[in-house]
Amino acid sequence: MAAAEVTTPKHPASGRTITVKVKRQRTPDAAAVTETFAIPYRPNMNITSVLGEIALNPTTTEGKGTTPIAYDANCLEEICGSCAMLINGKAMMACSALVDKLTGPDGNGAITLAPLSKFPVVRDLAVDRSVLFENLKRVKAWVPVDGTYDLGPAPRQFPQVQEQRYPLSNCISCTICMEVCPQFNDATGFVGAATIAQAKLFNMDPSGAVLKEERLRALAGGGGVQECSFAQNCVQACPKQLPLTEAISDMGRDVFVQQVKDFFRR
């Protein structure tokens, strides 16, 4: 074999460009501005590759040199939950958002990018979503194992239980369900659908159920499951199709039963 001759892949010279308007903010306190970019179109582009393209040549359509855009991304295959943002006003994952589906019927529509609106902006499209991880502590979303030494197999679990638990365990902590929820705001302090679904997941685990009552109490009262107004936005927006409304109503029932029990125990 002769030395392989490799050429950089040549893209069909379509000449077409995509217009992208990005809402930017240098620091958490800075005022937001919008910058517009024209990006050479290539088939199968997604939003993260558009952002990568801007980093290669950070120049706006007015010819002004600017900085690469800050955003969160890691897996680029919609499994790590990093890249949630508002794309054409809708909360979506940037890595699985394809340009071809965003430029309108004639393919010439501008794409707008903005950070999620319910979380503090760090910079540009990157926001601080640590509230979700705090909420997961609040509902003790874990199985309290005795230790990691060899204690033999876990209890048996029928496939039917696994089939119910698995979809809930697919939550990627993207916080889109919280973004789209009318009740998720400072006034209610609502924990949001993702946290409630995780509480259900661990209550269903044969060993995790030992903390069931604590989880239900954590979801009772202000900010808990009662804040849900069943707008059902969450279940429609969830990129992983989690059965969120079902989880909320199941947990709502369990929380109520727990509250009644606790009342009579007093």
Binding site: P9, N44, L56, A70, N74, L76, C80, P153
Partner: protein
Amino acid sequence: MAAATPRIIVVGGGLAGLSAVIKIAEAGGKVDLFSIVPVKRSHSVCAQGGINAAKDLKGEGDSVLKHFDDTVYGGDFLANQTPVKNMTAQGPAIIDLLDRMGVPFNRTPEGLLDFRRFGGTLYQRTAFAGATTGQQLLYALDEQVRRHESEGKVTKYEGWEFLSAVLDDNGVCRGICAMDLRSMEVRTFPADAIIICTGGNGAIFGKSTNSVVCTGSAQSALYQQGAFYSNGEFIQVHPTAIPGEDKLRLMSESARGEGGRVWVPNDKHDKRAAQSIPEGDRWYFLEEKYPKYGNLVPRDIATREIFKVVYEDDRGIDGQPMVYLDVSHLSPERLNKLEGILEIYEKFVGDDPRKVPMKIFPGMHYTMGGLWVDFQQQTNIPGVFAAGEADYSIHGANRLGANSLLSCIYGGFVAGPEAMKYATSLPAQAGDGGHAAEKQRQTEFNSMLLNNPGTENPFKLWRELGETMTKHATIVRYNAGLDEADAKLVELLDRYRNVNLSDKSQWANTSFAFTRQLWNMLQLGRVIVKGARLRDESRGAHYKPAFEKRDDERFLKTTMAAFKDGAPEITYQEVDTQFITPRPRVYTST
């Protein structure tokens, strides 16, 4: 005097890092956990297939010794056998533990764990949780760490990047130097021992199946501080990935298992839609060259053939590095079995693979090489431990599918307690242990970058790095090409000094952080290239047409790269083969 409560720093919160953290917290140590991304978003979430352990729940007579043999044989005998033996022996207990932690593993009707078969073995040894095993395992460990965190045993530093180790005058590790990726503050943190669990290095190849933060930067920084980097030239390239604008997404082998066919048009500029190109105008090159195995030749062969068709025969689709993987002719029943993976293709490419042939190309997937560690997972720098994809142990010249997740957890479970043991008998440091000097060194590098008046765009340099590495240091390697690659890397390192940041701000400056990592990627690129250049044989994933045979006499040896005078210096170390005598690894009879 030994520290009262050992203070351990774990860098990286994938499966390996979290495993180490849990063991230390459980043993009463204090842990600081550093990670660029929130640990729940680490690359381990990407693993789909499963995790191996010889539980023999299918009555096939599987055993840990068979798992041991498969792993050593699959790795073409380059792995030290003692840790492989220990890992495979602990496999069943690790699966039980994960099950107890609530991982939703698939079940048999009786409620037991279900297992499937993977490459490189005859046994159903792979436990799995739907098509997202890595995600489920990572979450289970993440939840345990969150529990320890809520009890005050673990402090997380998410959004902090490890820059380097703090070494005292005797070269003993006394902590780390890290940078806050929001405020860009550089700080040192004291520790009695540190554990590096920073994963793979796909970004050195530009595009790969890895996540964005898999740059190998931390491993490279340590190598430049005196740690040995071993077997760097062993890079696993998966035959079927979906080429993307931003990354290569994995397309599972099961597509071919169900009857998928690989082909290219006879005329590379054929303008017809793929599905309307008639049979006679298609070249089913795997079926033609391997009439017996057809599309199901082993991974490395399929990878090499696709590479040849594209780069040597210049027959890639439309002149691009891609071939078709076609399942559109399959029956609906067979397509149903492929549902999950076909959806990934549809989601990211926008075409329905049930109707349109998929476009695929091999993609850099995994590094067998990594930081050299002893059987206690300690590097040659006292107090620096490593585990997971970041270390070189276990997989030798080639990794078997579903063995990585196991090796990550095993490595973390060894490194955690060993670091504790080491820390308890560590003499107190003299003076400040090197903290001030290390902080100054890193701060100076930062101001050099920020004040550089140069003209080079770091992202363009990275693109050139990726193209060079992919061309010369992946599937097929030639000494002339490797020489060319090294010259290119030297050129890029030189041009790096002339780099210009379009963003010089000091708040959440991601391109600045990336540019820092790029330096380390370039240095590690040279390690990979040099190791490959000097290894004149073919073994596992390392293939040189000019040296087609495995050469045990000269190269049944671990490659040890040391950073000397700004360049990699390669020496070799004997491999521990005390349990299984090396034998030829023959694909044709499998």
